[in-house]
């Protein structure tokens, strides 16, 4: 058989390697279902914490020359309320990954437990939101804190744990190894890159939070490098994320070492058909190159 695009990550079976990235449209059961209908291999919810958050004031999301800059501020209704959305997804045809954040290892674990109880197939730990005090990247920059969070969540839930890492560190291998050695089942790399835009007419930062995270085309080469480095450092699967807009981008991340890819900002340009287009593009590529499956090309660039 040639051109098999089904992939497995931890114990999740994906019909294709495209996953909706966290923070993109994953706010409601209805819309996550819509993404599944559009052809995604799996979906990740918007990050949810223990307590509700309103998020920051607008502007929260703006387009810059080479990508999208955002500081939305993790708005979410809190896991108790969000559990209802998760419960509505029991008949979802694809795996549901719930993204969680917390302000301590214990909080991450509490949220993860409630998410799993509501029906999450896997938990993605947001260890990488670049613009929130006391959580996200502030935890995810420290190998020690990452270890504590992953261990605590791992001992609390019996579903696969994905650690989503920030590129805003000196050495991403170091934090990837911390996550892997503490029991993470996979690594998602990367979250957005800390960035900023200043309007020159009004002479002020545009985002209300001033600093945000950059996504989209500009960060793809950074994602490719991070995935490549992480692949050499750990033995667990990697989910590549950052600037994937076409099947070529997806294949590039897979060759660097990703077993699947997440898609986010590209939806702003390509709409929901992007999932099917990328999945079919990967299939055609595998055929053309004579590869049997996605698995055969994961990390292939390392053999060069």
């Amino acid at each position: 058989m040639q051109g098999q695009i089904e992939v497995e990550i931890a114990d999740l079976k994906l019909r294709n390697p495209t996953i909706l990235a966290s923070g993109i449209l994953g706010t409601s059961a209805d819309y996550l279902t819509e993404i599944a209908r559009a052809g995604a291999g799996a979906v990740t919810t918007k990050s949810v914490g223990l307590e509700p958050r309103e998020g920051y004031k607008n502007p929260t999301v703006i387009q810059v020359e080479c990508g999208i800059l955002n500081a939305v501020g993790l708005p979410n209704p809190g896991i108790r309320k969000f559990a209802k959305e998760i419960e509505e997804l029991h008949s979802l045809e694809i795996p549901l990954i719930v993204s969680v954040y917390g302000f301590s290892p214990k909080e991450y674990a509490e949220v993860a437990m409630m998410a799993v109880e509501a029906g999450a197939d896997a938990i993605e730990l947001n260890l990488s939101c670049p613009h929130i005090k006391g959580s996200g990247a502030e935890i995810g920059r420290s190998p020690k804190m990452i270890g504590l969070v992953v261990e605590k969540v791992k001992e609390s839930v019996n579903r696969p744990i994905f650690a989503k890492l920030t590129p805003n560190v000196t050495d991403i291998k170091e934090i990837a190894m911390a996550a892997a050695s503490s029991g993470a089942d996979a690594i998602t790399a990367i979250n957005t890159v800390r960035a900023m835009a200043i309007d020159i007419e009004t002479c002020r930062p545009i985002l209300a939070n001033k600093i945000g995270g950059l996504s989209g085309g500009a960060i793809k080469p950074i994602a490719v490098r991070c995935v490549y480095e992480i692949y050499e450092a750990v033995d667990i699967p990697i989910i590549g994320c950052g600037g994937v807009r076409t099947w070529r981008d997806a294949v590039e991340l897979i060759l660097a070492g990703a077993s699947a890819v997440q898609i986010g900002s590209a939806i702003a340009y390509e709409g929901l058909p992007v999932f099917k287009a990328i999945a079919e593009g990967i299939r055609t590529y595998l055929y053309r190159k004579g590869f049997g499956s996605v698995k055969e090309i994961v990390g292939l660039a390392h053999e060069a």
């Binding site: 706010t27 209805d30 958050r53 999301v61 939305v72 702003a268």
Partner: protein, 271 residues
Amino acid sequence: MKHNEMRIVKIRKVKMETRNVKTIFFEDKLSASAEPGQFLMVWIPGVDEIPLSISSASGRLASVTVKEIGEATRALNKMKKGENLGIRGPFGSHFRVVGKNALVVGGGIGTAPLFMLVTKLLNNGVKTTIIEGAKTRSEILFHDQLLALHDKRGLKVMFTTEDGSYGTKGVVTEAAEKCLSEEKFDSMYVCGKEAMIRELYFLAEKHGIQMQASLERIIRCAMGICGSCVIGRYRVCKDGPVFDSSQLREISIELGKFQRNFRGERIPIEN
């Protein structure tokens, strides 16, 4: 995707419409090429960025018509000619001309995008009736402009006020129901409070006429990615804000009943 980029524009003119409603004109080619029903993200530097319907677009000038409701709209209506605003857009779907006899219904500030629409309908040879509802006489929007279109172009204009200080006493939905029972319309265009839209949706369904309604939700990105404005399987910023009957049917359970707050939590719409 030029329209997504933040452009800084200078306010060219501010027109007082009512005690707490102003129309703010600025020069922006993209906004001036907008279709009726589309919206802009308007950045009041240092305050907030909010979605607003475009109320006029001609030549190089476009405008938004703003009612003071919260911090952002108050700050916006304090701004003067020559001051800077940030603009993104135009975004979203727009009202489409269908049929030959249109009923246009606006409630309060919901009338903002409808003057552009009635002009377009008349330009397309559609027989058009507009009903505008307001709480009281002093809150009626675009009164003189609408009457001018009546005189020059044959637009049928009706006003309702809740206190009876002008036009027919009552609410627009009652006036719309009366119109629909007396005359054969083939399309209805609506903007206003969602509870009103819900009532008019059921009226349109009952009379078997096509409806297009503009909905409002919390909007952050306006690019269809953040998920703040989802209703059913639609994004108000991208698939809307103007929805037609077949789309409204799919969301009729939520329509006028539920919305999502800044936390993304589904909450009842207060009327």
